[in-house]
Symmetry: C3
Subunit: 478 residues, 3 copies
């Protein structure tokens, strides 16, 4: 019970040492790519590029900024729903994303784009997007352990999470040559199971002791909607940020836009139907409305067709909301997985659906729909993979999904065990979900005293309903 | 008084059935256009397009995303100002926009871009922008009835609103060949009068019974400013999103940027002058500062010149703020129009001004200012309209504005009558503006007890000022 | 003590007169540039431009919108942290930015782009960005006097601030030919010292009388994080918005992105280390995390290399957070500078660091790193400056920084003296940081009564801790 949450040494040391390591490694490895180097003027002349607008920057920067907003405002504010953990939600999200993106540039660079001749990693705007994507996986995992871990644990989780991510991504995208532009498998399935497994290892049987801090208050739910909406609105940018120039980005946007719209309606339907009088639940609206974006991560660039996108969204709204109603309680009670934000319903399950949708639509692709060159471009059937058939591709897509689950579960089990060591300054069971553990909070949590007041004879009767389970009635004579 | 607000059947059924209808209709009608189809590689070769950057996606996507933010965060948060209706504001806004954009793609497709040969509607990024625009009309209307209707009524209102919108838009833009890039007439005038007329039909003589729920609290006013600012900042994107490539988009941005800046100053001036000690009113700052963007919707792409844009903004700030001070109370008392958000002052009136400004500036256009080709491009004097003079154009612009008013009022009257049926689960008069009717609210509304405390002899004197009209003083002996 | 804060005449008069002056001056001077004029079609033909995408609009508009968000939401919400001054923070920010950008278009136009033949200023998207930049300087200064001045004073401060800005910018960028794409010197150093000096002139020895209003509450800190995050996320757009097309914009984004990530880690480290139990302080997270963006304003477009950017961020996080802990109290006590938002730590100091970093990296630039043409492009060694060496350039960069400090301090002293006149309606010492002075606040500030309740014998014991320094214990018999 007497947990030591003093992180005055560990947190600064980890931040300093890791940041210095980043500087050294960046010094050794990271350079500007040819489109962001001052030698671009020579590259242009050499490659006969007539206009600066051909710089990849102009194809991807608007999408990058949208993704950037999703990472920092989207994920950050989505998690502010707890009544007294908003500092931790948005603040630790900020911290781990800032570290994670640096480490991701290195890890992804080593695996994907290390130049064999110079031994350098050359980065441009697409590298920044990929780093943000990689970080997203870790932020998803944060959702499962929100309020129950220390910032030091989160940094450790991110260090390993990014490392695992880069490896599974390399296996799925490069070795298996699966397509996963919006990361249903690589980001959401991996991140989801990684977080859930860590949460399972860190199971707290006495978490009910901080029950008073779980749940939202009115304004924290509205803060969370800021996160929801920025994720929802910019998801088309997420799924299209690294797809092919031209029709690839264009199509991914249309598909995601439609899919998400459809998800909102079925989320509302199930949420309303699950309550006696048809009232809506903010938890569903904040989370399940996003499931369609997750599930279209793989297939967004495919010719899934507009109505196909609507169908995926339709199903995901139902499944995700049902998840909050039925599966989350089951996970907690039976499987001992405490999933603060319900990432199983928002990321893990829809991610798996996305992998399946991707495999099926890839296997069903045909030259009559895509055109000969369109098929080659979409699935990148070039080089070593120029003879691959769409059926084979479908198989490799499915294999990719299994890889992401295995990495999530196995990685989560290992990292969870590391995080279980009693050195990280995590909070006691009765102090979970409370910002006061890691933050200077100037305004102490108030006891909300809820009164019904009525003048009654010579007295005012107060019906007092404190949310701290104290309930009484008393009178004040005046 | 005993209204049944149970929507456990109606809401899910409407959501499910309509979404399934969307899927079927999309399956029959909607396809990717040539710029978002994998055959784009062939189109490029055929049309001799040298670079993917020529894809319309890169001209319009940044503006589209800004518009998308306006629809979901802008409109959604602008309406969160009520103390206990923020869930409904942002949540129902989310729901009806998500449905509306799907239905809009179909309705606008049938009227504007149904391919006669294939019977299909081909969609691209411009279609998405237009769908968002169409939805904006319905969200404006929502502002008039905010807090007084059920989500089912809102969905019905949106179904008919989008339908009416597509028809009036077809008449104004295609038949009359009026120009209205930012939708002063098509979006704001129509949406404004549509909502006001519905609110007039649904007049609640006993609305004062929920007076305690009207008005804002401190934090809800700040939430509303999120909406205001995102609308204000991105309005240049709104007015330029579908204007001509190149100078058309460029000029519309400059004009709207300037016009809105000017509006802020006159709004502040009138707001301050209207109070005894010069204090500002948040209602004015949240709403009237936006009126300039509405009023420049039609003329944004014209050569109205920078100082012209400033003048429009100058006038709109004055008129809109005056509207809140003088006209809204008049509408409510005399015309029996209860306009929760004051859309008459923010959309309807400025929309009409915008239509007039558009007609005048069109009629005053000249080859000396626009250049020969510039005039043709700006007013699209090609095909059937190649011999139209600017004076005639001005006339048709004015005619367009009348059409939008007629559609708004007539449509609102019909739809209002439908919504008056006692089957939609709308709230009782005393439960208006209260989220608890349609939402699971975990934190019950608190009685805010406002005390002045002073030790006085042996007692502490509490001066109690409850906002629930109870006011008393009592002492507690210690 | 009896200060008159009635601004019912002054505020409306200033707004009206100045806005009318803007309209007249715009009518005389401001015209569309060739890329936003309908004659663009002829320009294209004349200059042999093949595509509309070559219009500068498409190079800069996405960055412009990000900058626009920083100005209105970023700066506005960053200042909402005070418990009862959020209306003033976001509302007055809105007002002065809206006025300032108009005046900036004129002032910057006269100094930078007045066409000698026509006597006109031709504006396009880059002018809008520069106007927003200019306004940023004044909003920074607002941070120092937040809560202590009237809106009329703020408008006066902005009028002179923009004027001074345009002059110092002309000296630094045109006469000295220093480079300062993201404005470390021109914007942040100037704005910082301008605000600090004004605050020094307006020193209030009895400011402690409004101590109860200083500091934040839980939700106001989260609102402030909206500002922080939008500033942080979009800073890469800020520093790249007006850099060279192509690699220039691309590189500035990468550098700023990395620098800011690094800053977050060292800010967290110092913040945690400065507290007994390692708790984090929201003030640091909200502000110091941004210092890296400020400090890279000058060098963002240089070949500072990715690890160089990380080092700058590393140092700035440390210095800025230390500033909040050690320097701010020193400034207040010893130098009599009351700096509400700590702009010395967020803008002034990091701005100076940015100027130094810029001078050093410019002096250290070499043809081997930049390439011959790259060096010329980056430092614009053309025309009169075609023979300048990088060492000389470094010297001029340093000179530029001195100019910005001198203008800030001298300008602030003069403007501060003007603002000291007793005619502007500023609040009394005990009413500072209180929205009720200038705003209609519907919900009066509540006395937060913090109780610990325990049933004790026949009584309930209330331990009352009012934040208004009243502390007592009383019992209520029931």
């Amino acid at each position: 019970m007497q947990k030591n949450t003093n992180i005055r040494l560990t947190l600064p040391v980890v931040c300093f040492v890791w940041q210095i390591a980043m500087i050294i490694l960046f010094g050794v490895f990271i350079r500007y790519d040819e489109e962001s180097d001052t030698h671009w003027v020579e590259t242009k002349a050499h490659d006969n590029i007539t206009s600066d607008i051909e710089n990849d920057f102009y194809f991807r920067y608007p999408s990058f900024q949208d993704v950037h907003v999703m990472i920092f405002v989207g994920f950050g504010f989505l998690m502010t729903f707890l009544k007294r953990y908003s500092f931790g939600a948005v603040g630790f999200n900020f911290l781990i994303a800032s570290f994670g993106l640096q480490w991701a540039l290195l890890m992804q660079g080593w695996f994907h784009s290390l130049d064999p001749q110079t031994g350098k990693i050359f980065i441009g705007v697409e590298s920044l997007i990929n780093a943000d994507f990689c970080v997203a996986g870790c932020l998803i995992a944060y959702g499962a352990v929100l309020g129950k871990v220390s910032p030091v644990q989160l940094l450790v989780m991110t260090l390993f999470g990014v490392t695992l991510f880069a490896v599974e991504e390399y296996i799925i995208l490069n070795l298996l040559h699966a397509r996963d532009a919006g990361g249903s498998m690589v980001i959401h399935t991996f991140g989801g199971y990684y977080g859930l497994t860590i949460s399972w290892v860190l199971y707290r049987p006495n978490l009910h002791q901080s029950k008073r801090m779980q749940g939202s208050v009115y304004h924290s739910d509205i803060f969370a909607m800021i996160g929801t909406l920025f994720l929802w609105m910019f998801w088309p940018s997420f799924n299209s940020a690294i797809t092919d120039h031209g029709d690839g980005q264009h199509r991914a946007v249309i598909n995601t836009y439609l899919c998400l719209a459809s998800t909102v309606l079925t989320t509302v339907a199930i949420s309303s139907f699950s309550q006696k009088t048809g009232k809506l639940d903010m938890v569903h609206i904040q989370n399940s409305t996003l499931a369609g974006g997750v599930a279209l991560g793989t297939a967004a660039e495919f010719m899934i067709s507009p109505y196909g996108a609507l169908i995926v969204g339709f199903l995901c709204g139902i499944i995700s909301t049902m998840g909050y109603i039925f599966i989350s309680p089951f996970l907690e009670k039976t499987l001992k997985i405490q999933d603060t934000c319900g990432i199983h319903n928002l990321h893990a399950m829809p991610g798996v659906i996305g992998g399946i949708v991707g495999a099926i639509t890839a296997a069903a692709a045909s030259e009559s729909v895509y055109g000969k060159q369109g098929l080659i471009n979409t699935f990148d059937f070039t080089g070593d993979f120029k003879d691959r058939t769409v059926l084979t591709q479908g198989g490799y897509q499915a294999a990719g999904m299994c890889v992401s689950i295995v990495f999530g579960v196995a990685g989560g089990a290992i990292v969870g065990s590391i995080l279980k060591l009693p050195i990280w300054g995590d909070p006691a069971d009765e102090n979970c979900f409370d910002d006061e553990v890691y933050w200077e909070v100037r305004e102490p949590a108030t006891h909300h005293l809820l009164f019904t007041i009525q003048p009654l004879g010579g007295a005012i009767v107060f019906d007092l309903v404190s949310r701290d389970e104290l309930q009484t009635t008393f009178e004040i004579y005046i």
